[in-house]
Amino acid sequence: MSFAIVSVFKVGPWLVRNQEINIHMANSKGALERYWKANIKIVVGLLLLWFSVSFGCGILLRDWLDAHFPSVGSAPFGFWMAQQGSILCFVGILILYAKLMAKLDHQIQSEGGTER
């Protein structure tokens, strides 16, 4: 019951223009869609990073990086990325993912709160 009331509050202004839409659905759908889009954005961004540190630096551009980038200790850059660097980056990517998603969860929740 309280859910339905909240829903009316949340989508109230929009509902005036779109009377035929089920209020219950509109609210959860809208929030879901925003959440999902933001989630996809995070995933795509992190996967680009993932691809470039492993396949990019470690395999495809390895020779070029070895020749043109400063070496890490005594290891050529591309080689070091393939054997060590990419793994460190992966850990970083996962920590970033957990942080960003936690923030997104929080955001979507507080957004629901302010709309009232």
């Binding site: 879901l32 470690g58 395999i59 996962l94 998603m101």
Partner: protein
């Protein structure tokens, strides 16, 4: 105390610990048997997943393979860690949200079909069996090394222990056992590396030694990697930092390993044991951190051990060879034949051999980790610990796989397809029976392995997982239009293609010239995966869209933090 005494002590203690944990954590319900009740802390689950993940192959032969394959070995390093990124951002939060016990469960419900569930069960059994063979073999190798018994006897002993705690304790039993096993493994792997890094490079952290300077008394310090390259070149091997695989093969193998990781049922189910989606993400961070500890150390052990071994053995008179060498010779793991009759050990690679310098020393890649502490002259207890670590690695992975195998049969096949009125007690009994059956098959193949190297057997399991589960799960989550026809066709085509390619080149004498675009059987899973994507896409577009319940299920799965959403509502 003698070396044997230390070995028995460490292995005996660790076994006692595992079995004690298993008895304390016996599963009473199917929920506990399949997912440990769903309340494991993220950090503990991270450790357990890391132990589950790091197989005997990783532990025993990875460093050895890296030592001989150099840059080419990076495909394993990146493949088996990078897969966790895919797994975490694309799979597990959503599958956890779905909240069922097994991977075929998700496929069966998402694709609203018993046939899809059945195909998924078959794929799961297939992947796990391929994988578990390598583990049983690994246990056998360790026991052979330790007690001088035959590999087959070792496989039988390892198998019985796994059955005791995985078959009886279920997920609850193995989770806490795996936490203990991870600790044993991590210490066993890193301690010898630290010792040898100090000896060769005067660095406490092996990863810094690896990129630091090689120090020998009376010699100018040279960068370690340069030393490694020089040693390899002088003996006619490829340089460590050079690679021999073509870029496309390297790319495909790495991709197959990564996507395979993200499709491995025994890793996915591990994330069903934590409380909620947020805990899944945290747990994944822990998992990869724990795995990285071992994977960042592997190339350093490989490199150090190789330099050390060559410096110790090459051109050394056989009579003066160190005792560890003679021990390994005795149990057949290293072989020396005095081809030029000078009484010295000569170790040469293909390029020197072509010049007429015969190589007199042969050994398997499994030996590097085993021989490393001996070569570095480390204390006896380190070697005992290492032995316990090897066994922990093999047992933990075998247990995880066995659990998936048994649940695939008891839950997905018996309960959901054949006999829906199965009681909970009967279901657990089926699971225990199935794990015994699966174990017997695994033991058979552990004794008669279809492939030479442990690592290779495992790499194939990844190809199979990449070509079957990965695309199906991925599209099950991210595509609303994907339907059962598409998923079933895709899985079947993907796994059949990959399987027949591997079988053809492994058993029917296919040659390198026949490789499809120069892609080896190890990397073919990537092509199988693309095929799976293509086939399921096309088939799904020409067949009816999935019913409404499924799209509703998807909405539910895609909005991971249901607890959060509800709390918002309650708040108002």
């Amino acid at each position: 105390m003698s070396q044997d005494g230390y070995n028995y002590l460490f292995i005996g203690l660790s076994f006692a610990l595992y079995i004690w944990i298993a008895f304390r954590q016996q599963a009473g319900s199917t929920k506990e048997y399949y997912t440990a009740g769903g309340g494991v802390s993220p950090c503990a689950n991270g450790m357990a997943t890391a132990a589950d993940w790091m197989s005997a192959a990783t532990f025993i032969s990875r460093a050895g393979l890296l030592a001989t394959s150099g840059y080419d070995g990076s495909r394993f390093l990146m493949g088996w860690t990078g897969g966790f990124v895919l797994l975490t951002v694309l799979m597990v939060p959503f599958l956890r949200k779905f909240g069922k016990a097994t991977v075929p469960d998700f496929i069966g419900d998402r694709y609203y079909s018993k046939l899809a569930r059945f195909v998924a069960v078959v794929c799961a059994i297939f992947i796990c069996l391929t994988y578990i063979m390598g583990q049983m073999r690994g246990v056998g190798v360790v026991f052979q090394n330790l007690f001088g018994i035959s590999i087959s006897a070792g496989v039988w002993i390892g198998g019985s222990i796994v059955f005791i705690y995985a078959g009886l304790g279920g997920m609850k039993g193995i989770t806490y056992t795996q936490v203990a096993q991870y600790c044993v493994m991590a210490f066993a792997y890193t301690i010898p590396a630290v010792f040898i890094a100090i000896a060769l490079t005067n660095q406490f952290i092996p990863q810094l030694g690896f990129i630091g300077d090689y120090l020998r008394e009376g010699q100018e310090p040279v960068p370690f990697l340069q030393k490694l390259d020089e040693v390899n070149r002088e003996l006619g091997f490829a340089e460590y930092t050079a690679g021999s695989l073509s870029k496309i093969d390297m790319f495909c193998i790495t991709a197959a390993l990564m996507c395979g990781t993200a499709g491995l049922p025994h890793v996915i189910v591990r994330f069903f044991t934590v409380k909620n989606v947020k805990a899944v993400r945290t747990s994944a961070c822990w998992t990869l951190t724990f795995i990285a500890v071992i994977y960042l150390t592997a190339p350093t052990i490989g490199g150090f051990a190789r330099v050390n071994m060559i410096e110790t053995l090459h051109q050394t008179p056989h009579a003066e060879a160190p005792t560890w060498f003679k021990d390994f010779e005795k149990n057949g793991q290293m072989k020396w034949t005095d081809k030029n009759g000078d009484g010295n050990i000569q170790y040469f690679g293909p390029q020197e051999e072509a010049k007429g310098n015969a190589n007199e020393l042969t050994f398997g890649s499994d030996i590097m980790v085993m021989a490393n502490p001996h070569m570095a002259g480390l204390p006896k207890w380190v070697i005992g610990l290492l032995m316990a670590g090897c066994i922990a690695a093999a047992l933990s992975t075998a247990a995880g796989l066995l659990l998936v195998l048994s649940t695939a049969i008891s839950h997905d096949l018996m309960k959901k397809i054949i006999k829906p009125d199965l009681s909970e007690r009967e279901e657990i009994n089926w699971a225990r029976g199935a794990s015994l059956g699966a174990l017997l098959v695994a033991i058979y193949f552990g004794i008669n392995p279809p492939s030479e190297f442990i690592a290779k057997t495992v790499a194939f399991a990844f190809g199979l997982a990449a070509s079957s589960f990965f695309p199906t799960l991925l599209m099950g989550i991210f595509s609303r239009r994907m339907n059962k026809e598409g998923a079933i066709a895709g899985m079947a085509v993907g796994i059949l293609f990959t399987f027949s390619y591997i079988v053809y080149f492994q058993f029917f004498g296919g040659t390198k010239e026949q490789y499809f675009f120069g892609i080896s059987p190890e990397g073919i899973g990537f092509v199988g995966m693309l095929l799976n994507f293509a086939v399921s896409f096309v088939v799904s577009r020409v067949t009816p869209a999935p019913p409404q319940e499924v799209t509703e299920l998807l909405d539910n799965v895609r909005y991971p933090d249901k607890e959060g959403a509800e709390s918002v509502i309650a708040h108002h």
